[in-house]
Amino acid sequence: MRSDIECCARLAGVGKRLGNRWIFRDVDAELPAGEVTAVIGASGSGKTTILRLINGLYAPDEGSVKVLGEPVPDHDQYAFRRNIGYAVQGAGLFPHMTVAENITKLAKLEGWPHERIAKRLDDLLELTDLAKELKTRFPYELSGGQQHRVSLCRALMLEPQVLLLDEPFSAIDAITRREIQDAFRVLQQQLQISAVLVTHDIQEAARLAQYLLVLAEGAVVQKGPTQAVLDDPEPTFLKNLVSTAS
């Protein structure tokens, strides 16, 4: 068992119900700090639900969730969530805001000084290889790849300690996806940020994650360091996936 410092999120005996149906039960997981954990599984297996339990959008029906050693608060979650970066499939940029506004709006609402915001924005643009001229553009003026980079910048703006990514790269073409994945890997290694990545793409999980959590049929069916899981895939569907991928 990892200590709380080594662990960015800890789920203990967690169950979540949707109406009368259990999405999953008895989930125990310790997601390592400073690394990327990929939550993998077929659609409907509850991957996204794991993310929403971590940032408090859902409360567990049984068990407990701790983030960075503290239980997820049940009130005033806004402050808590601002410490957790969040990016979703299709970038989800606000269409009426410029690139700069999309990225910095929450920092302004948090009352960051102007200089700090400007500096952080420039750093992030550089980190994600985005030209400064893009700041004043609207999302519809960007390419798909640029939109996803902006989405990453937005998730990182408030210097979060944990980053949650919900199938962030699934809606883009293969070549651009590869680019963004590389950019993300570089960025994550530089920042040493803990990240939880939900994906149904075993190749993406293999490329980006050091730790895997495999969900199927309402439970965690396998978990562990990526290489170990890939070397000895347990559930049939994973075996099939791994064999077709290699």
């Binding site: 940032n55 402050a79 969530r81 601002r82 970066g85 979703v88 606000f94 709006k105 609402l109």
Partner: protein, 503 residues
């Protein structure tokens, strides 16, 4: 949310106080129904008071006996001229003929005093061509018995009502049968001598115009419609004395002549009243408004009505929408409620406001306000609930508070649809405000109804044209606002859904 709600409430309160304040004046209010004769008589009363140094507020073109009488009963109008037959049937609802003393006594119980009758009786009568009158020496209805050869044509209502021709025929023992005809056609037909006898009103402007002879109702079949000024009993004695200015000074023919000057000669009622007052040695300096003055004045009134109603409706509707949009069943209930209001015909809604708020601008504004709620609520609720759920979810996940999500994401993205809703309401307000004249609210409807009443197409076109122009200008104004407020690509994105909402 709370400051927004409080702000809205404060604004509405301020408006109500301001409007209520406007209508409480020290001046005397003279009313009249939507009718040429009423208009002239109201001017006679108004200019008499003005020539004695009093301030007068004219509430002309009110939409009916009930509206103007109730305004008198509640003290919103201080004086107007009514007819004894109307008082008996419509106001006192008496089935038998009441004497003037009885009428006075009954009205006194309601705090209303009847002044001296003006002298004329605006009742039904029979008219024949002057040439025929000379030929036959006819002067009275009873003499028609001796002329079974004459052709009788009456208006359909008079012909068919039980207390119309069938009853009169028995009363006078006449033998002639009659046919129905349109009133306007009947008068022309008499001139052409195609028909001989028809029914008319004793003070019709057309009597003089078409050289008609009125036959006397010598066996008193028709109820009397004696013109009686009604005033608030609590008016100062000297004011009541002044309002008695025209007591017993108008015969049927004299009143018909005044109507003729306005209706046929197209003189302003105010001018005709001033000239009449001169014959009573009352010197009035009142100058009838020119069409230009009227147009400016009524346009400003119209804008005021529409703008105040729209502002209040926008504030309230947005507040309600934002408060309820996240609860589907509640917002549905509210939309149904607002929709129900919309199904009430606008004229009926205006009339419904009179018992609650009296006459004048306030009830008109309240009615317009109620009318404008639905488009804004419906478009706003729909727009807020149809913002891309992914964006709301991202905002939630990133740590935007609910208020921040609403303010920075949902409202800006809904803005094109919200503006479209406000724009629809603005156009409804401008259109419906033309009916405000019916309850003394003023506006461009004054010109339109006066035009209808005087058969003056020019006035109707000017009034309706100005209202239409106002609608177009407002439409263009909203387009401009939209360009400034809504970033171009959002407007383009929203165009499809916005247009759907607008229809």
């Amino acid at each position: 949310m709370k400051p927004l709600l409080l702000g809205a409430l404060a604004m509405v309160l301020a408006l109500v106080v301001a409007i209520a304040g406007c209508s409480r004046t020290e001046t005397y209010v003279i009313g009249s129904k939507l009718h040429t004769e009423q208009h002239i008589l109201a001017e006679v009363l108004a200019q008499t008071l003005e020539s004695a140094g009093y301030q007068v507020d004219r509430k002309l073109n009110l939409g009916g006996t009930k509206i103007v009488f109730n305004a008198l009963a509640t003290g919103e109008v201080h004086a107007y001229v009514e007819y004894s037959g109307t008082i008996q049937e419509v106001i006192l609802k008496s089935s038998r003929t009441l004497s003037l003393q009885e009428i006075s006594a009954d009205l006194a119980e309601q705090g209303i005093e009847t002044l001296e009758p003006l002298g004329f009786n605006n009742s039904y009568a029979f008219g024949i061509h002057e040439d025929l009158a000379k030929e036959t020496n006819l002067t009275k209805i009873s003499e028609l018995r001796d002329h079974p050869e004459l052709r009788f044509y009456f208006s359909h209502e008079f012909l068919e009502r039980e207390d119309g021709y069938p009853s009169l025929k028995r009363h006078y023992g006449l033998t002639q049968d009659a046919d129905g005809i349109e009133h306007a056609l009947a008068l022309r037909a008499i001139v052409e001598q195609e028909i001989d006898v028809t029914d008319l009103y004793t003070t019709d402007a057309e009597i003089e115009h078409f050289d008609l002879k009125v036959l006397e109702d010598d066996l008193q079949f028709f109820p009397k419609y004696l013109a009686l000024p009604l005033v608030r009993a609590d008016l100062p004695v000297e004011v009541k004395q002044l309002l008695n200015v025209a007591a017993n000074s108008l015969t049927d023919a004299a009143m018909a002549n005044l109507n003729y000057q306005v209706h046929i000669e197209q003189q302003p009622a105010a001018t005709v009243a001033r000239n009449f007052l001169a014959t009573l040695n009352v010197k009035s300096n009142y100058v009838a408004e020119t069409i230009g003055d009227k147009l400016i004045d009524r346009t400003l009134e119209h804008l005021f009505l529409a703008a105040v109603a729209l502002l209040a409706a926008t504030t309230i509707a947005l507040t309600i929408s934002i408060a309820v949009y996240s609860q589907p069943s509640l917002s549905k209930a509210i939309a149904y409620g607002a929709g129900l209001l919309q199904t009430i015909p606008s004229l009926a809604l205006l009339a419904l406001m009179v018992p609650l708020f009296g006459i004048g601008k306030l009830p008109a504004i309240v009615a317009l306000f109620l009318y404008s709620l639905l488009p804004i609520i419906r478009t706003t609720v729909t727009a807020l609930t149809t913002v891309d759920p992914i964006l709301v979810q991202v905002a939630d996940g990133m740590g935007y508070t609910r208020g921040q999500t609403l303010r920075y994401i949902q409202i800006p993205l809904s803005l094109p649809a919200i503006l479209a809703g406000i724009r629809i309401s603005a156009i409804i307000c401008i259109g419906t405000a033309t009916l405000a004249a019916f309850i003394g609210g003023g506006g461009l409807g004054d010109l339109i109804f006066q035009g209808l009443q005087l058969d003056d197409t020019r006035l109707i076109v000017i009034g309706a044209g100005a209202a239409a122009l106002m609608a177009i200008v407002v439409e263009l104004m909203f387009e401009t606002i939209e360009k400034f407020v809504v970033p171009g690509h959002i407007a383009a994105l929203a165009k499809v859904s916005g247009n759907q909402l607008a229809t």
